[in-house]
């Protein structure tokens, strides 16, 4: 699959939820090749601090228009700087990178579950659109999106999902909207109460959330595709920095690593050794000095 370096014009850029920004860029080469679940490495600005690019998933892609959309949460220096850019400016992108999601088989009819934690909604939206587009026979009501954030201010608006016609199950950690508690709890509860068995399951969110999703998927024998994260320098397979401990079920002695940028970012639930991942909660959403 070809990869491009493209100087992309920012067409639109606005805050759509708390600290969450939606950016539309003109990037025809990348847009044409992009698959849902793939990502771009964004140079947030010229200069040497921050030095490295930041990985961001495709939120939506418009191959005919030559556009892509990125949805991102401001968490640190790089994303803060990115949020200051305005339409008319250009951003240097590398992409499309990574493997991307596999869409359900063309004859798939059964329910699909999508589980998004926070900004994990970003790549799942593209996926839902593509499932809807690639398979007109597929009833959008069979797509169940379980979408949780910390608080209502971080939720993307309902109207956003309306056009797709998917079933959205909302949750917030603080109960300010929808189900109170973690999205994985809501999902597990729903699955139990309604004997819900998705034919396939897609998830993106914090590692801790993905761990719970993976456990559920493995226990219930549901094929899952999880979009995992790791810190990246190159995004191309050259630096070997983005490693996660690999679990190879056939070979329990294997103690190698998978690389998120080239083997992923989409992995089946059993691909990584979750117990070897030191999952710690991300810092609170505050900035001390900047």
């Amino acid at each position: 699959m070809p990869k491009f370096q493209e100087n992309a014009l920012i067409l639109d850029h606005r805050e759509v939820a708390d600290r969450t920004w939606l950016m539309r860029l003109m990037s025809p080469k990348i847009a044409l090749e992009a698959r849902a679940g793939q990502f771009v490495m964004v140079r947030v600005r010229d200069g040497i601090d921050p030095l490295l690019r930041r990985p961001l998933s495709f939120h939506r892609t418009f191959p005919e228009e030559g556009c892509i959309e990125l949805l991102y949460r401001v968490v640190g220096k790089g994303t803060l700087l990115l949020s200051k850019t305005v339409p008319g400016m250009n951003l240097d992108l590398l992409g499309p990178l990574g493997n991307g999601f596999d869409l359900p088989a063309p004859d798939a009819r059964g329910p699909i579950a999508l589980i998004a934690g926070g900004i994990g909604i970003a790549p799942l939206f593209d996926l839902m659109e593509r499932i809807a587009l690639s398979n007109p026979a597929f009833d959008p009501q069979q797509m169940n999106l379980f979408y949780g954030t910390r608080t209502v201010a971080e939720l993307l608006a309902l109207s956003y999902f309306g056009a797709l016609g998917v079933r959205v199950h909302w949750s917030t950690d603080d109960g300010s909207f929808g189900h109170k508690g973690h999205v994985t709890r809501m999902f597990a509860q729903f699955a139990e109460d309604s004997a819900f068995r998705p034919e396939s399951l897609y998830a993106c969110g914090p590692l801790e959330m993905q761990f719970h999703v993976a456990r559920w998927a493995l226990a219930h024998d549901v094929p899952a595709q999880l979009s995992l994260e790791s810190l990246m320098a190159c995004g191309l397979g050259a630096c070997l920095g983005c490693a996660l401990p690999a679990a190879s079920p056939d070979d329990p002695a294997a103690d190698g690593y998978v690389h998120v940028c080239m083997d992923g970012p989409i992995f089946p639930a059993g691909a990584v050794q979750w117990q070897k991942l030191q999952v710690h909660r991300p810092p609170p959403p505050i900035f001390l000095s900047d």
């Binding site: 140079r43 790791s230 191309l236 050259a238």
Partner: protein, 330 residues
């Protein structure tokens, strides 16, 4: 300063000699920052580079260190990859043929836990079609055994270089660590033991911590700092090594522009390696090459060799009246 004339001058000669090794140009990509050469092929032709130095290779495949393995710091990054690599056999069978196809000049960076392992690697790579030279890594800060340990003591450095020298006729480049008090001594030991050239420097031992989790940001606690932040250190090391030994030196550390590269060459480095900058801009090494060429034209120099080592060590107070200082090489 040469006058500009109506007829375009012939392209300057960028070829450089490093002892027995002759390179078409002085811009190389540093080990560990360009994978095995294929990873960047969508963005540039590896055959255009002076050489591709591949990720450090050991006798057996190595999984590397547990994650998190990297962290960004101001103007740099710290990595603790731990020399993950496919092992020499897979390198020869799978990776090297791809590089040969691309007509790249290949330098293999080798690394062992023992002197014998270094020697074993040299034997295996000796005579492999498409290998132009070996770079002996005695300077990686990220592995417990071997690695930097060999590079911090003149006697062990000499033992490694000597053992490799005994097993191969390939040109040898020894890569030094800045994490020593007197880098010149290590360089001298390596030269006496038979290295043909020196690469200077590997990453600088470094650390980063997180005040929220109250933990180190790297699973390995320590890592190696690279990027623009280390350039002044690399320049100083290169200068010291050039004073200590006569053999050719390759400058590496924080090079991201043609100006950076030319600074090392001004000191006397006969070639440079571009490392972390590849992550930022995959085409940067070719841009640096083109920038060097523009600089030579601007200066009216026909050969890069005429610029190398022309530093006048007497420092003058700078006045900004000379436009040369603001030439945009990028």
């Amino acid at each position: 300063m040469a006058e500009t004339t109506g007829t375009p001058a012939a392209a300057p000669d960028l070829s450089v000699r490093l002892g027995p090794l002759r390179l078409a140009n002085p811009v190389l990509v540093a080990s560990g920052t360009f994978g095995y050469g294929e990873e960047y092929a969508d963005f540039l032709d590896p055959g255009r580079l002076g050489a591709v130095i591949v990720k450090g290779i050991s006798l057996l495949p190595r999984p590397g260190n547990p994650p998190p393995r990297l962290v960004e710091t101001p103007a740099g990054m710290i990595n603790a990859i731990g020399l993950e690599n496919v092992g020499v056999d897979r390198f020869i069978d799978v990776k090297l043929p791809l590089l040969r196809q691309r007509r790249a000049t290949v330098i293999v960076n080798i690394f062992g836990n023992t002197v014998d392992e270094y020697a074993g690697l040299a034997s295996k790579l000796d005579g492999e079609d498409g290998v132009a030279a070996l770079e002996i890594n005695i300077s990686c800060p990220n592995v417990k055994q071997g690695g930097m340990v060999f590079g911090t003591d003149p006697a062990t450095a000499a033992a490694v270089v000597g053992a490799v020298r005994a097993r191969t006729a390939l040109p040898l480049i020894t890569k030094l660590t800045p994490n020593v008090t007197r880098i010149g001594e290590i360089a001298r030991a390596a030269v006496d033991a038979g290295t043909d050239a020196i690469s200077c420097i590997n990453t600088v031992a470094a650390m980063a911590v997180d005040i929220f989790s109250r933990r180190p940001k790297l699973a390995n606690v320590f890592g190696g700092l690279s990027g623009p932040a280390v350039k002044p250190i690399a320049l100083r090391c290169t200068y010291e090594v050039l004073q200590a030994v006569k053999c050719p030196v390759i400058g590496v550390g924080g090079i991201g522009t043609a100006t950076d590269a030319l600074e090392f060459m001004l000191l006397g480095a006969r070639a440079v390696q571009v490392g972390t900058a590849n992550f930022v801009n995959p085409g940067v090494s070719v841009e640096i090459l083109e920038g060097i060429e523009r600089f030579l034209r601007f200066q009216g120099l026909d050969r890069i060799e005429d610029f190398i080592g022309t530093l006048d060590t007497e420092c003058l107070f700078p006045f900004a009246e000379d436009a040369c200082g603001v030439l945009d090489l990028s």
